[in-house]
Symmetry: D2
Subunit: 283 residues, 4 copies
């Protein structure tokens, strides 16, 4: 069977990295089908795709072969992905379904590579119908008084399904540092403002009060600091004179769902690298 | 000679305003050629244009005739403009000329109604050449140690030319509340970020550090609080992976000049109303 | 019960229309809550909304009262809508579900005023599942050899449900002039190109061949001439170097669904007037 | 002195090209500072930048060294540029100055690498003032009855200055195949429509008649077939209801100048490759 795969690589920039990376694949008689690299100040980032036979049965085999290359560079790290590995996406949502619906439909349309949604968790029972429609295992976890208990119940679901990526599709609860660490996979959030403007609650209300002429949405990796994680994707839409907060919310929903779906796509295509609380997103 | 004119009107919203406004012009046998209105919560805003003969020699005549209408409404205020009145635009710039050049070229192209640039003030001698090219009176005011003295010198120029609007075309000095009050005309600034993100100095550096995926520019009326005035226009441009701060500054210049030129156009067309530190901008 | 309603009015432009329109409502003690007007060369267009009590039980009552006003103007026509009247949207789709899904979800989210989807017709059995999920009456009408027979079967569905608007959600069959006339309601199509570029079949293939840097989608009213009807809404998205036709189709789907959903919204909000094969779309 | 340079390379796609290209530079102890590649169906395209010492005195030296690499691939072609080589840009304009002004200002701001404007040709005497302001050699060539004579006079200017690139900044005369061949350099045009819509004269009038909701501008390489050359860059702007042809022209000017300036930048940065009447534009 023809295989395809990719490598994400980063290190401190230095003369000769590209030649070394490309040389590694040539030495293993593997042909690069796509090569992208960026430099940001002292850092170098690359993403390589290859297709066809390759000598590595498992990711670990690749890692072992590649490690001597990585060792030549300072602060080097890498991750390889074989595209025939299925990916599991876990979704969290609260009351508003628009970002969730978009992510489900994109998955169903095959827009995300080799991806299935493994569960849907919500603190709102109104979300169950979307799970039923698309035959996704659903867990209603009502809001406990004790947040640790709430997170514990969520972690049980995560441990059971071991998702590769978690998407917070307008999930309106703040996650603790412990929870984020315990999830053991990247968590992608959609925030309904153009960050860093209007962090936290009620961003449309704040945007309305400030009288901005464009409102936006931001998808980012979740870190313990609220709405402060590395930004993956952002989008904006124009506000018209007289637009109420409710109208902003309505037109904002379209931006939110597009930005969230795009960010998930980039993550699931293995096209993001994080560094210094920022991301490089490959094309 | 055929005359054209416009009225900007605002008041607390109430049933019957539109009929009253339209009725006033009908009673004076003046035909409305353009009518726009918006409501924002409890406020009502309208802009009316009319063309052809009208019974008012001076703005004061109009004001006198219209006052009884305004008096029927709560918190009502209005301004009328006759389009045959020439408008004077004063410009301030520091080192970077791009916003200035755009404003000058738009004025020269006739994109702003009946407008001439009456002076150009700069704290950088490198700006003089743009004044010379376009025959604009130029004042180099070097940065005094005493800000009050600096502002005093600027106010002298303002008092001499009495501009209708002042444009800060990337003018990098903070203006005092006294100066703003003494200028006695609206002051339009271009800030090189998507406000309220990255207020104050070095916004591109801050945008770079935060890793945003879109950078922007904001044109706003100047008030004593820095970068906090009513926003007139905003724009954004996408950042590519690996874009340096310098590259952001370069692509940002295009957004800045477009946003600044658009804001000046709206102001000079009498298409803005401010309220609660926000603006209504008519189409 | 509080009622709200709107009037769409158009006529040959002339002095005094605004006063006449506004005066009519004042005379009937009805307060205008929203007024928009545009002029395009010799034509005048207005849309008025009102709220609260009004003296007209039925649309016909309004029409009767308003007719004397309309009669004062040349080529005048008008339509009034009471917002408490439910609206019925009929949908046609072929194989691709993305535009259909968006329209269904927008309807379900309440983004379209007082609207229900009354039927879904498809020439592809794969579309049935979307009808089942959302409990929409579904009609699979397989492609007959005789187009008249095919259209006949479709017209039976239309006659049974009498939709107020028909949406062609990527419906890939050309409709005859007879069919369009017999449907007796506006038909809104989404075409997968930036019209007038790439009319007819395979627009992405043509866009690819021409090497355009932006691809687009166009939603328009259907007339007998293929892809030539009055345009309601258009959108574009940037093509990256090396993008294949398949990739264009993928990113194009997002634009198509957004443009189609926006056009349907404008139509269902009674915010479009057609004239000279063009539309005025109110804000 | 540190040198920097780039290579544009294209050939029929095949396994191993990237390794071969990168290997060539490694063998010459030259470090690649930027590498971009794209594949479009059967074609492969790459752009490499390098910095620092390199063993090639002249472009011809590079070409000689590189030829054996190129010879390994089918339909291969390449061009190398040393960035310390100054570039000469010749400009043509008719009456409308906006695209011209933008190109001049971008050049003056240093946005184009190592570029000077070597001449400005116009068939309108009103354009001379822009040449004077910026000390650019100006040639007024009035429209001869005999187009060959007109083109002959233009070619004399071209032969005298030997520009590297010619920019047609809203130059409203059709150029013959002979002229294009004789110019012996790429010619970049800005067309005031979103091609392939509205080819030829009066595109805004045609856009108005068709009732499009977005108007655009297209910058392309000039070939004998009018407005049919490889597209380099496109942009669009939204039309509001009631916008007249004149208003479209006004807002269109901003898009035209931006698109033209961007296209010139890409060309002068050696970031375009043409093939099959299309372009690959590198980031």
């Amino acid at each position: 069977m023809e295989r395809s795969a990719c490598l994400l690589f980063q290190c401190t920039d230095k003369i000769g990295i590209i030649a070394e990376l490309v040389g590694f694949f040539k030495d293993h008689k593997v042909s690069i089908s796509r090569f992208e690299e960026f430099t940001d100040q002292q850092y170098f980032f690359a993403r390589l795709e290859w297709q066809g036979d390759h000598p590595w049965e498992l990711i670990q085999d690749f890692d072992e072969a590649f490690q001597p290359i990585a060792d030549q560079f300072v602060e080097a790290s890498h991750r390889a992905y074989f595209f025939d590995q299925p990916q599991r996406l876990g979704l969290f949502a609260s009351k508003e379904p628009h970002a969730l619906i978009e992510a489900i439909n994109k998955t169903e349309a095959g827009d995300y590579p080799n991806t299935e949604i493994c569960f849907l968790v919500s603190n709102s029972p109104s979300i169950e119908k979307y799970a039923i429609r698309h035959s996704i295992p659903f867990y209603f976890i009502k809001t406990f008084k004790d947040p640790a208990k709430h997170e514990g119940a969520q972690l049980e679901v995560i441990r059971r399904y071991r998702p590769d990526v978690i998407g917070l599709a307008r999930y309106m609860k703040v996650l603790s540092a412990d929870f984020i660490a315990s999830a053991q996979c990247p968590i992608v959030n959609i925030h309904h403002s153009f960050l860093p403007s209007f962090i936290g609650a009620k961003p449309y209300e704040l945007a309305y009060q400030r009288g901005v002429k464009l409102i936006g949405a931001t998808s980012h990796y979740v870190i313990p600091a609220l709405d402060q994680g590395p930004i993956i994707e952002q989008g904006v839409i124009r506000v018209e004179p007289g637009d109420s907060v409710d109208h902003m919310k309505k037109i904002g929903r379209d931006v939110e769902k597009q930005v969230f779906a795009k960010a998930l796509e980039k993550v699931l295509q293995h096209k993001t690298i994080t560094y210094e609380n920022k991301t490089i997103v490959f094309n």
